[in-house]
Symmetry: D2
Subunit: 138 residues, 4 copies
Amino acid sequence: MDYRYRLDMKVRDYECDIQGVVNNGVYMNYLEHARHEFLLHEGIDFAELARQKINLMVIRAELDYKLPLVTGDHFWVGVNVVQSSKVRFDFLQDVYRAADNKLMLRAKITGTAVNERGRPFMPEQVASLALPQPEAVE
Amino acid sequence: MDYRYRLDMKVRDYECDIQGVVNNGVYMNYLEHARHEFLLHEGIDFAELARQKINLMVIRAELDYKLPLVTGDHFWVGVNVVQSSKVRFDFLQDVYRAADNKLMLRAKITGTAVNERGRPFMPEQVASLALPQPEAVE
Amino acid sequence: MDYRYRLDMKVRDYECDIQGVVNNGVYMNYLEHARHEFLLHEGIDFAELARQKINLMVIRAELDYKLPLVTGDHFWVGVNVVQSSKVRFDFLQDVYRAADNKLMLRAKITGTAVNERGRPFMPEQVASLALPQPEAVE
Amino acid sequence: MDYRYRLDMKVRDYECDIQGVVNNGVYMNYLEHARHEFLLHEGIDFAELARQKINLMVIRAELDYKLPLVTGDHFWVGVNVVQSSKVRFDFLQDVYRAADNKLMLRAKITGTAVNERGRPFMPEQVASLALPQPEAVE
């Protein structure tokens, strides 16, 4: 699969639970961090928008857990984005173990943007993310 | 909606992010805790099973974020469970703000159980969770 | 020991690490939550102050780890506070396992308050915390 | 200051709280990760030791918070270690903002090692960490 953005990370011991694997909830952190780094890379600063009272919000998350990351694993998160409605965009985010490029987790995170009064508000720079999806090459 | 189990909780300040709301990933923690407390209530000890090398695993999570919890909010998590295949069960978990019983998050967490060799293995006490879904009464 | 405030809590599985015990860093979360609940109980709202650009800040933390909490443990946090200088107060916070009231962790968290320009600023309601230390009765 | 080990990191948005700064407790995570990476660099695998029922444990932590890291900050953690008793070692860990090498946090984390029965047990490779402290050059 081709991705518009890729972030390399490494599992930290405190992220692992009593089963010795990365806790399920931690993947949400990985995905958020990769998404915000991707946005930053595209000139969109999540924190700066929050200060301007424009909140990028997640409204739906779908995660398919394939294999568990364990302590010490290097991994990377691939990010694509498609516009799914006038005010919604889907982030397609996949987590791969670096050692063998094996798919660990597949996620679709649907987001929107709202202004100070909670109304849908699409900042221009976010709207411009809505480019045609890159050709998926397995 | 009727639930087989209900857990009362309160938002902690460290769970809130720069937007002033509970961070998206934290709901996975809430849901896991409510799930494990529910299992314990049904006589199933997640940690004890982990020590026996039987791992209850999440294989899919679907979360619909309706409204954000904020600092200081009291809330409760309702839990139901249905068997979705021979070796899979779906936890239907909803998060409600206590002040007005407003739905904040709706989630479906699909789990399975594997033994030491990673093979599907359904402990008897987990299988017994597979009761017919309670009548949903809105 | 006598405490001005006591908060009952329970270990959550996601707070435990690969050693099967509550991760060291998680105690900082427990202590913060107990401190904020104590402040709220005294009429001081950490989050509301933050919105008013008055930030209660930790400037030093000392933690003595005695025994580890494990999954399923019920515990409670005792809180006392003493003024240690004109603009500083020490929170004396101890964590006890509920089953046997055994001391798990002893902590001293030193805090101060700063205004929007980062200058020490002691809100009246915080200053009023500076009561003489309660008689310690073992 | 000279350090035996240095780890470069970046603040992640989910680590920041409603004050817009890295939450106090998160520094414990940073310090643990830097410590474990340092140990790994010295040939000591925390997770592997845990599997062998040899637990490296923190028994005391002292943290001096100087300045807060904020969202987007790059930073690095410097690590030194000194033996403070037959079975204890002190990790001297400092956190610097990368942009200006300003000291953000100074920490001393005291650790020990215990075996399966909870008795102090110093693995050879850990004992070998007890080298004379490097010359501190400000």
